[in-house]
Amino acid sequence: MRVFVPGDSAAISIGADDIAARIAQIDPSLTIVRNGSRGALWLETLVEVEINGTRFAYGPVTVEDVPSLFDADFLNGGSHPLARGKTDEIEWLSSQERITFARVGIIDPLSLEEYGQHGGLVGLRNALNSTSESIINEVTESGLRGRGGAGFPAGIKWKTVAQTTSDQKYICCNADEGDSGTFADRMLIEGDPFTLIEGMTIAGIAVGATEGIVYLRSEYPYAISILQKAIELAREFGWLGTSVLGSTHAFDIQIRVGAGSYVCGEETAMLESIEGKRGIVRAKPPLPAIEGLFGQPTVINNVLTLSTVPMVLAQGAAAYKAHGVGRSLGTQVFQLGGNIARGGIVEKAFGVTLKELLETYGGGTLSKKPLRAVQIGGPLGAYFSTEQLETSMDYESLIAAGGMLGHGGVVVFDDSVDLAVQAKFAMEFCAIESCGKCTPCRIGSTRGAETIDLIIQGVRVDENKKLLLDLCEVMTDGSLCAMGGLTPMPVKSAMVNFPSDFLGAAK
């Protein structure tokens, strides 16, 4: 009999390992599967029991609850205060549109057999029977855009690399998910690593690259270990190596671990870091697609972008772009975090409103105090007020509302938040993490934090606000990359949407 106890690090952080051990201790005959998380992190640790092929959920379980689960005969679906019924019928999950996250939480992340049973490798096999041109056309046609934040069409990037002539090209997966409030890359790697490997392999075949590199942050030790095991299993299986699934294509993947630098999530700083250097941003052009890693043509895509490719190749571009709105096609893996009652992964078609995410899924704040601010898109994203809850969550609408989608993180704050303090933090964070190459970012961030401090203290408030806006303009227009260029976004949005926090002593 199979019992599922997630091995996702979020679940482990609140005791999943102890729960798995306790269950095994009480009934050693059970097969305990360490699946990924279903994404309903508010239900973690979510223990599932498989009865005649149907899974029943119990959560949130603590290690102290385990004996009472046995007493309630949970192995036969017995009733218990933590019983959630059939997992597939939990509305929070069933109302989502899981495409990229289709298998996460369902399969054993390191079972190639289960991966295959749940539609894995279909996309890669289709790619192997296809030409480079038609793979790239399919990806372009699907409307898939870069999920790292920039939203650049993946197919066009691939086409640029495919058109270069070089003996060595690279596929670099940016898994340096440094934005606070984002954890989808981590959960995908921990819950369904083969999908990423498949997406990278397809990209390699499409553009003629034989080497893949995953730049994975050191803050994700569990993800590193799971992905490493998955790569080794894929090699043993004859998937990665000199002949991909018996074809004439060669492709292999190596993990490079980050070293705690946020700016290395910027694609050119990432390339420098993979080359073993300081993570200093490069000027563009040349584009990495032409001169990237070690000077060679390089596809750089985010984990979610690459992990969506297998589905596009398996089910076709039309199936993917049937979701979404306008030029934001497909689904987005939103991540609800911060002070939120029901946080986790919500994969929905673009166009869901912020309100639906926060209320229907999020269930309001965890502290039960009124919700006051929402930061969307990581530390460089805008702070939204409760007056903007009808905003449609897609690339264009968020830009129109003065923000950005970023990597899809949604961080909730209750009414104890002081937006002037948050604005100051945005500048301080930029000062800490700036690579130092360009002046607006390196010096502007420090001056910005000082200026906001003066506003907070009530020193020449109007004058300093004007100065701050001027500085923001310089940083936006004059910085080399998004680090300095977007730091003004949280600052300005905080000033515009929460003016009462910027009154200095008059507050």
Partner: protein, 141 residues
Amino acid sequence: MKYSPWSQDAARVLLATLRDEKGPVLMALQLMQKEFGYVNPECVPLIANYFNKSRADVHGVLTFYHDLRTTPPGEHQISICVAEACQAMGARSLEKEVKARFAAEVTDCYCFGNCALGPTAMVDGKLIGRATLNKIEKARA
């Protein structure tokens, strides 16, 4: 956490495993830290010579990355996430509390990707969600 005592000979053996890597300097420094708990300053000329780089190159990499340290760590290492999502859950006051108790062991971190179960800390490599001083003390024991 247990680390090997610093030894140049042991370091050379480890560096040999990276001989065929492209762009090995950061990997080499990370490997030193993993084995010895920190990057001994003697590593700088050692790595520079081994991979035919200048000492300035190696020093530059060593001083760029927050993860890398040049002094031996204490017996315990506590890292507290102080990024926005954890701030929204009181990470700043947790940080103060934990620093008051274990000042020398605490470093700030920006995001462990556990943003729905904050505040988050990492104690000796173990991730702690919904972290409290009490939970951190227990994990440290």
